[in-house]
Structure formats: C-alpha cells, structure tokens
Amino acid sequence: MRIPAAAQHWIVPIVVVAAWEGFGRVGIMPRYLPPPTLILGALYEVAADGELARAVATSLYRVALGFVLGTGAGTLVGLGAGTVPGIRHFFDPLVSFLYAVPKIAFLPVFLLLFGLGHESKIALIAFSCFFPVFIASRHAVLAVDKHLIWTAHNMGAARAATFFRVIVPAAAPQLFVGARIGLAHAFILLFAAELMGARGGIGPLISEGEDAGRFDLMFAGIVTFAVLGFLGDRILMAVRGLVLRGQMIGTLEQAVR
C-alpha cells in the first residue's frame, strides 16, 4: 500500500499529538505535559475572559515596534554602509564584534536606561534586530550586479536615481532575508525579556501558569507565542511576495507555487 506524499506529511505530527493525548488520558504522561485537549480548553478559558487578547496585544505592541525600529534603522544604515565606504568602515568593526554577543546580555543595561516598562523591551528588540538586518543590507548593496549600475550611469541617471531605482530594488530580496532573521531575533528577545521581568504580555502568562501549577495555562501561552511567531514570519513572507512580485517571475519559487 502506498501512502500519498501529501498524507505522509501529516503522519509524524498526528502520531505525536495522538500519542501525547492517549498517554495523557491514561495518566502515564507527567503532570507538566497536559494532553492537547486540556491545552485547547485552557486556551479557550483565557480567550473567553479576554486575558489572552490583552496579553497578545501587549506582546505584539512590543515586538512590532521593536522590529520596525530595529529593521528600519538596520536597513537604512546598512544601505548607507553598502553605498558609502566611510559609513562602512565606521560600522563594520563594531558590528562584527557585537554580532556574536547575545543581545540579551545588555538587558541589565537597557533596564536601567529605559526602565521596567515597554521601552526597555522595545529598545532591546530593536537593538537585536539591527545587526542581522544591517549585515544583510550591507552585503546586498555590495553584491548588486555592477553592470546594472554602470548601465544606469551610462544612461545619465543621477546618483539618487541610481540608488533608488537600481540599487535598492536589486538589493530588495536580500533585505527581506535580513528582515526575516531580524524577526526571529525579535521573538526570541521578546520572550526572554518578558520572562525575566515584565508586566503584561504572553511571557508572564506562561510564568504565572507555571507558578500556579496550571501547566495547561502555561502551554496555552507557549502555543500562542509559537503561533504568533509563525504568523509573523508568514506575514513578512507575504509582504515580500507582494513587494518582489516582479522579481519572482520565472524563479524556482514561483514555479513551485
């Protein structure tokens, strides 16, 4: 008997969830791994009394603002560094040293600088997004096909026109690669910063559930967080498809879709 490929994709997730549910019902699973149906129940519970919506709104506010600020700054400076050697020489050594440092290590500094509220988390998320976005944007500009630039110059395009009409569009696919890595960083930082001390948000929802021994609530928070991260990535990819729709024509990606 041959199982179709599309069905094979579902085998592992279904087996894992079914086994989890089954063993949980029989009572073999430890208490900290409540069966999926209980988690769904807890999700419904926090969703019904509005707690989930408040937590999601708080976390989304932090991560969205931090991501937009960090990615914006990283793109601007990265494009500048790719174009102007002076900017490149200033930022390259700083970035190559700080890149390997976990940005969460700056949490104590940011807490003291920006206080315990939203600002310290937003600033830390932005700080963390900046680096991968900067690196991707800088490389993207430097990797733009020189013939395109020469052609534009040859046809008498001004410097500004060359930058906005040739370099930025040519670099755009790589800019999205950087933004995608930045988004992943943003969610990691959001979670760590919220878990280490924050009022409101999904992180506290998880740690409160944990402290109260309500592991179904803890998992409800974990599932919500994972779904948010996943959706964020999907939205970014959708935006990318929209922005790059001209450049996608004839590529493998479009052919696959």
Partner: protein
C-alpha cells in the same frame, strides 16, 4: 604606510567609540554607575579572571554550548542526508523542519526545564534543538544541491554506493553543511547565555544577571567582552576548519 592607513581606516571606530565612552564618563555627562569607565571594566575583567570566577563561568558556558552544538551537528547532518536521499523520510520530516523553522522555539524552554531539570541538561537539550534547525535545513539544501551529473559520472565509472556517498555526495554537500554549522555556532552560545540568564547558578549568563542586579555594570561589560571574544574566536576557528576541509573552494568562506 598606505597599508597602515588602510588599517586605521578599517578599524578606527572601535578605539574612537571607546575614547568617546571614556570622555563621557570622565566629564561626568553620564551616570557612571550605568557606564563605568574603561579602567573599571578592565579592572573587573582582570580581577575576576585572576580569582578564577570569569574563567569558571566561561568554561561552563562554552562546555554547554559545545555539547549542544556537537550533538546537533552529529544528529543533524546524517538526518539531513537521509531526508535528501529518501522520499519517505523527506515526506515524514520535511514539514516539521520547514514549518517549525520560523516558530520561536524559545517558548518551549519552560517545558525543557521540567523534562530535563534546571541544570546543564535542559540547556544543552535546548541548544541542541535550536542548532538542529539551521543545521538540518541548510545541510539538507546542500545535499539536495549535489549535481546529478557528478553522481552519474561516479556510477558510470563503476563506483560502489559507499564510495559515491563518501567521495562524491558528502564532499559536494560540504559547503552547505559548513554554512549550517556557521549559522548554528553563535546560536548555541546565544541560547546558552540566554537560558543561563533566565535561571541558573553557573555560566556567563548567570554572571551577567547577578552582576546586573547588583548594579555592578563593569562586570556586565566584562562578561560581554568575554562572550564577544569567544564568539569571534570560535567563528574564525570554524572558518579555518572549513577552509581546510573544503580546500577546493577557494576563499568562499572568507567573507
């Protein structure tokens, strides 16, 4: 002389920034509790290196990161190879890796502490999970990208299967494998430091967290310097290894 000038042009920003930092502290413009002078950072670095505190925590962090990274590499690369060569294996596991990739796995860390305990095992297991994704995905793409003509040539010349795997497939996939390892290595360090900050009594993450709550920011910066140096050295080491292993691909990993 021109070479020296180029070095100055390339590297001046780090000393310049340090100079501005020191000037800001000396002039009293910024609160020195938040931004300790360079001298105090250096003193903290030297003191805690002499009395063995920093080396101890650094060793703990590096050992954990190395364990998680090595496990992920040992499991991930064969796994990626199996996914690339077997359709059943690919159909079973591809969705988990490609849909799971953008999911922030950090959310699972509380569960890890329950399953593996709060000490080293949960952190190593978590670093393993976080490193596994980039290694499997990148190595998988590397194995998939092995030119079919190379395989045909090898088969045509009568090479047995094992020789094809060892002499053709693995070498051709090596650049992809190393790309994955290079992405995963800093992730291992980040994840270990981060989880140590969330809760532990050892490691550089703990050292940073405890120094921060004591407002000893000179020590926080000292630890950040140590982590930065470790990450830099390890990345360079991996690049050297890559250049030695993938010797036919000149300078591809240089940048």
């Amino acid at each position: 002389m021109a070479g020296l000038l180029r070095h100055v042009e390339r590297w001046y920003s780090i000393p310049l920034l340090l100079l501005v930092w020191q000037a800001a502290v000396s002039s009293g413009l910024v609160e020195s509790r938040l931004l300790p002078g360079l001298g105090r950072v250096a003193a903290a670095l030297i003191d805690d290196t002499r009395n063995g505190i920093l080396p101890y925590h650094t060793a703990v962090t590096l050992a954990r990161a190395a364990a998680g990274f090595a496990l992920a590499a040992l499991v991930g690369v064969p796994f990626a190879a199996a996914m690339a060569r077997s359709a059943l294996f690919r159909n079973l596991f591809e969705p988990i890796f490609f849909f799971g990739y953008p999911v922030p796995k950090i959310a699972l860390f509380p569960v890890f502490t329950y399953v593996f305990g709060i000490g080293s095992p949960s952190k190593i297991a978590f670093a393993f999970l976080e490193c596994l994704y980039p290694i499997v995905v990148t190595a998988y793409l590397g194995f998939r990208a092995v030119p079919i003509r190379l395989l045909w040539s090898a088969e045509n010349m009568g090479a047995p299967r094992l020789t094809i795997v060892g002499r053709v497939i693995v070498p051709a996939a090596m650049p992809g494998i190393f790309n994955g390892l290079r992405i995963a290595l800093p992730i291992a360090i980040v994840v270990i430091v981060l989880t140590e900050m969330i809760g532990d009594s050892r490691g550089l993450g703990y050292y940073i967290a405890i120094s921060g709550t004591r407002f000893e920011f000179a020590n926080v910066y000292a630890a950040i310097l140590v982590i930065g140096a470790c990450g830099f050295v390890l990345d360079r080491g991996l690049l050297r290894l890559r250049r030695a292993v993938v010797h036919w691909e000149r300078d591809a990993g240089a940048r």
